[in-house]
Symmetry: C2
Subunit: 224 residues, 2 copies
C-alpha cells in the first residue's frame, strides 16, 4: 500500500482541496490525465493523495509550461510508465514542450541555420538526440538575428551555451543518490518547466537592473 494513498476523498473534497472545479476534474479523468478513483457504493469513487498530487502537476504543466491536454497526457503517461528510463521521460517532456514539427517546406536560411546549430552542438560535444525539439528554436533565433541584418554567427551562442551547461550540471548534481524514480522524474520535469520560467523572469529583471544602471536617469545615448 502506497503511504500517499492514506486519506480518501470524494470528488467534491478533491476539488475543494486542490482548487480545481469538479467539471474540470471529470474532464481530466475522461481524457486520461488523472487515473480513476477507487469505486465506492452508489456510483461514487474515492480519490487519494496521489490524485491530489497529480492534479497539482497537471496544473503546473498547463499554467507554467503552457502545455495542452494532449501534451500533458503524453507526459503523465511517460511518468507512469515504470519501464521507461528516466532519461526518456525527460525526452517526452521536452517533446511536449517543444515547438510542433514542421508542417511545410523549410526556407533556405532556416535549413542553413539548422545545420549550423547541429555543427555547433556537435562541436560542444553535447549528447543530444537528432530529434531534440530545442534544436529548432535555437536555429530560429539565429535566423531572426540574420534577418534583422545583425550578421551574427552561431558562435554568438557560445557564452549562453557555456552558462546553460554549467547550470544543468549543477541542477542534475542536486539529485541525491537514492532518490526514488518518481521523485527523480518529477524533479527533472519541474526543473525544466518551473525553473525555466523563473530563469526567464530573473533574466528580464536583471536586464532592467543593468539597463537602469547603464542608461537610467533619462540619459539618451547619441542622437541616432
Amino acid at each position: 500500500v502506497d503511504p500517499r494513498r492514506g486519506r480518501n476523498l470524494r470528488i467534491s473534497e478533491l476539488s475543494r482541496s486542490s482548487g480545481v472545479p469538479v467539471p474540470t476534474i471529470k474532464y481530466y479523468l475522461r481524457e486520461g490525465l488523472l487515473p480513476s478513483g477507487t469505486p465506492m457504493a452508489r456510483n461514487q469513487a474515492d480519490y487519494g493523495e496521489d490524485h491530489h498530487h497529480r492534479l497539482r502537476l497537471i496544473r503546473v504543466l498547463m499554467e507554467v509550461g503552457g502545455l495542452g491536454v494532449a501534451s500533458v497526457r503524453r507526459v503523465v503517461e511517460a511518468i507512469g510508465n515504470e519501464r521507461l528510463p528516466i532519461h526518456q521521460v525527460l525526452g517526452v517532456a521536452h517533446h511536449a514542450l517543444g515547438p510542433p514539427l514542421d508542417t511545410g517546406p523549410v526556407p533556405e536560411d532556416v535549413a542553413l541555420a539548422r545545420s549550423e546549430v547541429d555543427g555547433f552542438l556537435a562541436d560542444l560535444g553535447w549528447k543530444v538526440s537528432e530529434e531534440a525539439p530545442a534544436r529548432r528554436p535555437l536555429a530560429d533565433a539565429l535566423v531572426a538575428l540574420r534577418r534583422l541584418g545583425l550578421g551574427y554567427d552561431v558562435d554568438a551562442f557560445r557564452p549562453y551555451a557555456n552558462l546553460a551547461d554549467e547550470l544543468a550540471g549543477w541542477e542534475f548534481g542536486q539529485v541525491r543518490a537514492g532518490t526514488s524514480r518518481a521523485d527523480a522524474v518529477e524533479s527533472a520535469i519541474v526543473g525544466t518547466v518551473v525553473f525555466e520560467a523563473a530563469l526567464t523572469a530573473l533574466r528580464r529583471l536583471a536586464q532592467e537592473h543593468h539597463s537602469a544602471t547603464r542608461f537610467g536617469r533619462g540619459r539618451i545615448l547619441g542622437a541616432g
Copy 2:
C-alpha cells in the same frame, strides 16, 4: 537624408524582398506598425530600407517573442519616440512581453509569494520598478513549487538570479560607447527577445546532455 532610405521599393517589391505578403503589409500599415511610404503618382507609395528593416523587426517580435499586434505597436512607438530614454523603451518592451495584469482577486499563496519575491529582489539590491511584469511569473514559479509540495523557499532562486545578473552585466557591457540610440534600443530589445529564446533552447539541450550523462543507457533509478 537617412542613408538607409537609399533604395525605393514599391509595396510588391517590399513584399518580395521581405517574404511578407502584400495584404499583411497593408494590415501593418493600417495598424500603425509600419510608417507610411512616400506618396507617389497614381495612388502608389514608395518604401525604403527603413520599412524593410521595420518589417523584419515586427516579424521577430511576433514570431520569436510571441507578441500580438497591440503589443508590437507599443514597442515600435516607443522605439520611434526619440524623446523616450532607452531605459524606458526596454521597460515598454518588457511590459509588452510580460504576462497581462491581474484580472481577478489574487489567491493568498500568490500574494504571499509576490511579497517574498519583492523582498528577495530588494535583498539582491536590484534596481527594478515595482510594476516590472517579470515579478509576477517569478512569484508564480514559487507558488507552483509549493503547490507541488516541494517546499521551496524563495532563496532557491538565488543561483539563477546570480547567473542572470552575470549574464545581463555581460550583455550590457557589449553595447559599445558611441552606439546610436536606434542601435542601442534595438539591440536591447533583440537581446531580450531573441537571446531569451536561444537561452531557453540551450538550457533544454544542456539538460538533455546532462540527463544522458547521468541517467542514460536505460538505467532506472530506485523502484519508486
